[in-house]
Structure formats: structure tokens, C-alpha cells
Amino acid sequence: MQEEELIQLLQNPDKKDEAFSLLVKEYKVRLYWHIRNFVKIHEDADDVLQNVFIKVYRNIHKFKGESKLYSWMYRIASNESITFLNKKAKKLQISNEEIQDYILDNLQSDVYFEGDEIQLKLQKAIAKLPEKQQLVFNMKYFQELKYKEMSEILETSVGALKSNYHHAVKKIESYLKKY
């Protein structure tokens, strides 16, 4: 089904529920990994993902089609992930920067993390990046999105994204050599 057709169905009260079911089926995996790369822990990713879908369901009538549907949903997912981590940091009474270290320190004992030493090191290196560079690196490297798609989602020019990614890779390489 074409995206335009799906949007029309989603905005039609009689067809909304049926179309929403299709939407969940289509995007659940992609959005899950986008969120998981950011929040790291499965239970947290699950919470955020469900919130994202609930928000999409409640606000679909506000979607004006100025961007692609998936960009809109990715944007909601990015914002929700950042908000979630900030809230978690506040709850633990630590800074927004410290929360990433806190999560990674507990990652080895997570039953849903089966990464080896180099994978853990890579995650630690990503955690040291600024928020925006983390998003760009995860989207480009792990999710293999195109710059054009990323540009729509993050509302940033392709040039700026390339620069962000370049800086992120350099910083990660430097971290891995150091530790």
C-alpha cells in the first residue's frame, strides 16, 4: 500500500483502526531499533515504542503530509527517546550526560545484550558523543538510512549531517584507539 493511501485511511474515522493496525505491522521493527539504539535497554525501548505508537494514533489527524509519514514517526520516536532518557536521569538524580554511562555500566548484566567486548566498547564510544551525533551515527551506521531520509527526519541539511557523521566516526575511532 502506498503511503498516501495509508494516510488517507488513517485520517478517515471509519477506516482508522484498520489502517493503524497496518501501520504498526509495517513500522514496528524499524522504529524499535531506532529507539533501542538510543535507550539501549529492551524494556525501556518497549515503553518508548508503545508511547510513540499511541502518540501517532492520537495525533494522526494533525499530520498534514508536509513530510513523509515515516519521517514524522521517526521524529516522534527520537524526541520520545531523548525525553525518556532525560526523565530517567532526573529520577536517578544524575546529569543527562551521566545517564549514558550509567546504562552502559549495567549493560553487561542485561539478559538482552549479547554483545562481545568490541561491541560494548563501541557502545561506550557512542555514548560519549553529543546527542545529535549519536542519532546521526546510529541512523547511518546501524540502520543504514540514506542522508536524504535522515535529513527529512532530523530536519537538518544533508551537508550538516555528513559533517556530523564524519565527526562522530573520528571521535569513535579515537576513543577505540585510546581504550
Partner: protein, 176 residues
């Protein structure tokens, strides 16, 4: 040719984990891709993050329960809400009508404030409300004793002098 099920039925005493063959393919492919990635790339493409078994199939139900099905469930709630709203409006109307009716009856009897004369009001205030100075002296507890004492002394002197002035004619009685 024997089917997989037939082989399984031949009892050897060996057992396999539940749903082992269903997830075997997925696990195998994942393992292969993992090996390929770690050998081919400088950095691991795989994050190492795992997802619980059958997570994505249960996720769909969970999301739909909180959105589509939740909304359907709420239809009854809205219906109840509507009844509550109607009941509240009726209650307000009945109470409003009652108040208006009572006011109307009171007006007919002529017991409203507008019918009380100025003289009656002044008389009421005079008889029932203490003067400001008296109220102040009662409230001012720190000086209560002194003030009361002074007033009593002054009153006594005045009363005594007045008494003598008025009753001067009767002083003769004292002489007697």
C-alpha cells in the same frame, strides 16, 4: 520420504526445546550474518542488543489494546458520561427552579429586606450591636482591667454627684 514429524515420533528418548525448529532458521541466519560482519568490517555492525522471543508479535497486540481497542472500550464510558452530564444539568435546573420559587413566595409575604423600615434597622442596631468603643475595649485584652476599672470609677463619681444633685431636696431627711 519421511516427513520431519515422522522422524520426531520415533522415540529415541532425546527431547528438544519447545519451538526449537521454528526459531532455528532465524537464529542460524543471525549467527551467519554476525560472523560475516565481524570478519568483514573493522567495527561491528551488530549492536549486540537482543529482543525477547516473539516480542514483535505481542507488541502489536499491546499497542492495539492501548489505542484501537481501548477507544472501543471507552464508548460505554462516554455513554455513562453523557448520562451523568444530563443528570447534572437536570439537578441544576431543579435546584434553580426551587430557589426561584422560594424567593417568589418570600416576596409575596413581604418579608424581604427592602420592606424593612430605616427606623426598625436603627433600633435593631442600637439594641443588638455594641458600640465600636465598647467592642474595642472588649477585644483589647492587654488593657482590659485598667479600662474597666477607670470607667467604673468615673461612672461611680458621676452617678454619686448626680444622685446628690437630684436628691438634694431630700437631704433634710438626713438631718432628721
Amino acid at each position: 520420504m519421511k516427513l520431519n514429524n515422522d522422524i520426531a515420533k520415533k522415540s529415541t528418548g532425546f527431547v528438544i526445546p519447545k519451538a526449537y525448529f521454528e526459531i532455528f532458521e532465524t537464529r542460524m541466519l543471525k549467527k551467519i550474518s554476525k560472523t560475516k560482519e565481524t570478519t568483514q568490517k573493522h567495527l561491528p555492525k551488530n549492536t549486540g542488543f537482543e529482543v525477547p522471543e516473539a516480542y514483535f508479535s505481542t507488541l502489536e497486540k499491546s499497542v492495539l489494546d492501548q489505542t484501537v481497542n481501548h477507544r472501543k472500550g471507552k464508548v460505554i464510558k462516554l455513554w455513562y458520561n453523557r448520562i451523568a452530564k444530563v443528570a447534572a444539568i437536570l439537578l441544576i435546573l431543579i435546584t434553580g427552579y426551587g430557589i426561584l420559587n422560594l424567593n417568589h413566595r418570600v416576596t409575596e409575604k413581604g418579608d424581604t429586606f427592602s420592606n424593612i423600615s430605616k427606623e426598625d434597622l436603627e433600633l435593631y442596631i442600637e439594641n443588638n450591636i455594641l458600640p465600636y468603643s465598647e467592642m474595642r475595649s472588649l477585644l483589647d485584652t492587654d488593657n482590659e482591667f485598667d479600662v474597666a476599672e477607670t470607667n467604673i470609677n468615673e461612672l461611680n463619681r458621676e452617678v454619686i454627684l448626680k444622685y446628690f444633685d437630684n436628691e438634694l431636696d431630700d437631704l433634710d431627711l438626713l438631718d432628721e
